[in-house]
Symmetry: C2
Subunit: 377 residues, 2 copies
């Protein structure tokens, strides 16, 4: 169940006056920073006191123990440590309710029940956001803005605790989405964990290749393998804690690959065009389903893919040129939504693509052209 971000902030604030963030890495510190912008009292703890102090210096709260029971304990530790930290905090009666930010939900929930933790004042949480950098220094108050924030209440979770989980998501600018822990884990296996491992395996295949082969790589494989640069330690933790759901997706993918291989080998065996096309039909079907599946992915921040128009401009690769270009766009009253710059090393020009709302693209192109810019397309 997705809940539109409403105007509920005052009510949310009243249920969340004070929090304890246990674990001041990227996620915990980012949540703390967001809560501070709403005036929530934030206490910071980490098994590494220096990390908590750094988070405090960055404005995320106080690196000290709360004097009384806080409204919400936010457990921002790896999935396999959630139950232990929850048990410790409940033992201290540190908070009225607890949630976590870990990227898998079934495993922690099972351990919470197995460890004999109280389940009524805990709601699992997973904000779908991250960065390639980690640690409190990489934290951003806006990390969760516009992103989904999954909440996975168990049958035992009480309504006050679920409300505090929702309030946390909203105060961080995210959209609460309520799912079962199992549905959550299957979903992230499909849209995050399996793609990570696939990207790593495609990139790993480049390792034994000749230099001449690798230098032929273009933007396609660069995009496919971008996340292969991610931290293996972090992903070992995530994949290990969601192993079955990830294995299920990869099993299906391996079967798809094997079917594609069979079709390609059938096609290679025939020189006759019609037979070749027939043999390749399953591959073409996979390409078409890929088009349709890709079209389902929402754009940045959960919006549908933005249908911006592109206004391409050739500029000289000198300081001041971009400033002038943006100034001229501003003078035309046009808001640039995004921009891409292509380099042509050794060439005195650059190719800039200005992304704007389709309704203003022609006006912008005309305005820039009239000011002497080399607008293309």
């Amino acid at each position: 169940v997705t809940e539109p971000a409403g105007s509920a902030v005052p009510a949310d604030l009243s249920t969340l006056r004070s929090v304890l963030v246990a674990g001041t890495g990227l996620m915990g510190t980012s949540a703390a920073l967001a809560l501070r912008t709403h005036g929530v009292e934030v206490y910071l703890a980490d098994r590494d006191p220096a990390a908590a102090r750094l988070a405090a210096d960055l404005g995320a709260g106080r690196a000290e123990a709360p004097t009384g029971r806080v409204d919400l304990g936010i457990i921002a530790v790896p999935p396999t440590a959630v139950a232990r930290v929850l048990g410790d905090l409940q033992h201290q009666d540190a908070a009225a309710s607890y949630t976590d930010l870990a990227s898998t939900k079934s495993g922690p929930q099972r351990e919470i029940e197995a460890f004999g933790c109280r389940a009524d004042n805990f709601v699992g949480g997973h904000p779908l956001a991250g960065r390639e950098r980690s640690g409190p220094g990489a934290a951003r108050a806006d990390l969760f803005e516009g992103r989904p924030w999954v909440l996975t209440p168990s049958a035992a979770t009480d309504s006050a605790t679920l409300a505090r989980g929702r309030a946390l998501a909203r105060l961080c600018g995210a959209t609460p989405v309520v799912m079962t822990p199992e549905d959550h884990d299957r979903a992230v296996a499909l849209v995050s964990h399996a793609p990570q491992l696939v990207a790593s395996l495609v990139a790993a295949r480049l390792l034994p290749a000749a230099d001449e082969a690798v230098q032929l790589a273009g933007q396609g494989v660069r995009d496919v393998t971008r996340i292969a640069a991610s931290d293996p330690g972090l992903w070992q933790e995530i994949l290990g804690s969601n192993a079955t759901a990830v294995a299920d997706v990869l099993d299906a993918l391996a079967a798809d690959l094997t079917a594609a291989v069979r079709a390609l080998r059938d096609a290679a065996r025939t020189a006759e065009a019609d037979q070749r096309a027939t043999a390749l039909a399953p591959v073409v079907d996979a390409l078409r389903r890929g088009n349709a599946g890709r079209a389902r992915i929402p754009g940045k921040h959960g919006q549908p893919p933005a249908a911006y128009s592109v206004v391409p401009v050739v500029v000289s690769d000198q300081p001041g040129q971009l400033a002038q270009l943006f100034a001229d766009a501003g003078a035309a009253g046009v808001n640039i939504e995004d921009v891409a710059i292509e380099h042509s090393p050794g060439q005195p020009v650059g190719y800039v693509e200005l992304f704007v709302r389709p309704a203003v693209a022609n006006d912008l192109a005309a305005a820039l052209t009239s000011r002497g810019w080399a607008v293309h397309g």
Copy 2:
């Protein structure tokens, strides 16, 4: 053998005074535009006369038959049509030498020999460049700039023809790379064709998923599946003409996936942390090899990945703000190498990352801060 782009343009120009481009799609028209900037006489032909006329109107040359034999016939048609078009052109004695731009090389080379075409005045060619858009309207004179341009001479190819192939690559701003047709096809299967099909299969898996699962998608899967939006017809042609090499890569990937699945299922069967880590060791190894393989991919335009520093700035999401930001960067004498803009819908601010040479990042951050910008990180 990679050849550094030298100062050989005058010599290249003398071997390439006139060309016929047969096929005025994206690739042929882009080559024609590049050659025109060097004053080469370009004749344009296409089985669709309107496409040739559009290319001509875009400044790519003349949509008419050459009056005499040109220096080079550039066959810019799909791989399965190369031998037929070559045979026709050779029959007309249209050019002194011929090359093609098709994305696979063994198949056309085999057909050229099987069809009884002359092999001495032909050298296979494949500039590693492309766009998601197609047709002459998407052509760009700079499409090939800084990219590798593979040449695949056969044993029969004469030296004058290879020299004309090299001249074409250089005049288009590309770097000639000489390989055998077989090495080329294995390389592009690895760095382009197999990743395309993998991206399509990952995206296709999203098709039957629940809306709530798909909305959890983030930047990772968006990057992995970006090229799944490519044209199935074009890729049917490419994959079909390189079927065996692609199948070999996908076979190996399917085996990698199956090994990962086995490790994940082993890990899921144990609750004990040490045993779990042991079971996951092959997955962690794959993640590490993925890191190393990814690091081998050259950056844009064949450079090593650019080690730019990022200066992050929060700006208000209004016309004029970016102009002012770039103006202030320009006033600080800093050249912005690239820029990324994060949107926060409904929020009055945007997050702009300025990519600059590491040596100037601190100066830029200080200069912008002193002018009142909210520089982060």
